[in-house]
């Protein structure tokens, strides 16, 4: 095969890539299924947290790690969402997925947050929620049902979160 044949074939495949491999980051309410799985995790600060304790509030679970650039970038925005909507019946929960929490603690000392941070050291909760990307955000309504799953973080994604949170708070 010569250069020209390689080039034509590659360009055809490129077109296929663009058409067939979409990067949809958000699964809408229709795709997310029913009740969010129950879990219990140790919290930063000592106590434990179980999802059922938060029934009645709108909950946003954010799966993050200190080694994940977009996760670190997103953190201050999550903190501002927490500050604004906590009084209205909302809570953010950070779920750190690292087996060793040392790096996460170090990051939180430099970028403090006021919302609870749970440590999923054995990845059991990540598996339960079938986390497909880093970071991953799951929004659960007041009745404990999963309403939105979003993968990755790019500036501007917070608007997607806010729309969902506001509509769930109104329910």
């Amino acid at each position: 095969m010569n250069f020209h044949q390689y080039r034509s074939l590659s360009l055809a495949v490129l077109a296929a890539c663009v058409l067939l491999v979409p990067g949809r980051a958000t699964e809408a309410a229709a795709d997310a299924r029913g009740p969010a799985p129950e879990f219990k995790l140790p919290l930063r600060g000592g106590k434990d947290l179980s999802l059922s304790q938060l029934r009645g509030q709108v909950v946003m679970l954010n799966f993050w790690a200190s080694w994940c650039g977009p996760c670190r970038q997103e953190m201050p925005l999550l903190e501002s969402i927490q500050k604004k909507y906590k009084p209205l019946g909302f809570t953010m929960v950070g779920v750190n997925v690292e087996p060793d929490s040392a790096q996460a603690e170090k990051f939180l000392q430099q970028t403090p947050v006021s919302f609870p941070v749970a440590f999923d050291r054995s990845s059991s909760v990540s598996k339960l929620f079938r986390v497909k990307g880093m970071p991953s955000t799951v929004i659960v309504d007041r009745n404990g049902n999963t309403r939105m799953i979003h993968q990755g973080y790019k500036p501007g994604d917070e608007n997607v979160y806010l729309d969902q949170i506001r509509s769930l708070l109104r329910e």
């Binding site: 095969m1 495949v13 296929a16 990307g133």
Partner: protein
Amino acid sequence: MRPARYLVLLVLALPVLTACAPIEPWVKPYEREKLADPIMAFERNPVSGSYLDHVFESREGARGASGSAGGGCGCN
């Protein structure tokens, strides 16, 4: 070079295969801590790497196939 032709055709077929046969990743996104470590980057210092590639290619008959993309945290 015939084996290269088959290799290239296989690689070119990969994106099309993705759409037809979704495979569950065996390394989960939350298990990529070691891969996200900067010391696991194929090219941690591009300016130095490309200079050394230039030094070798200027003195050798061989050329090509010296870059790699991919790995890392797999975020977004």
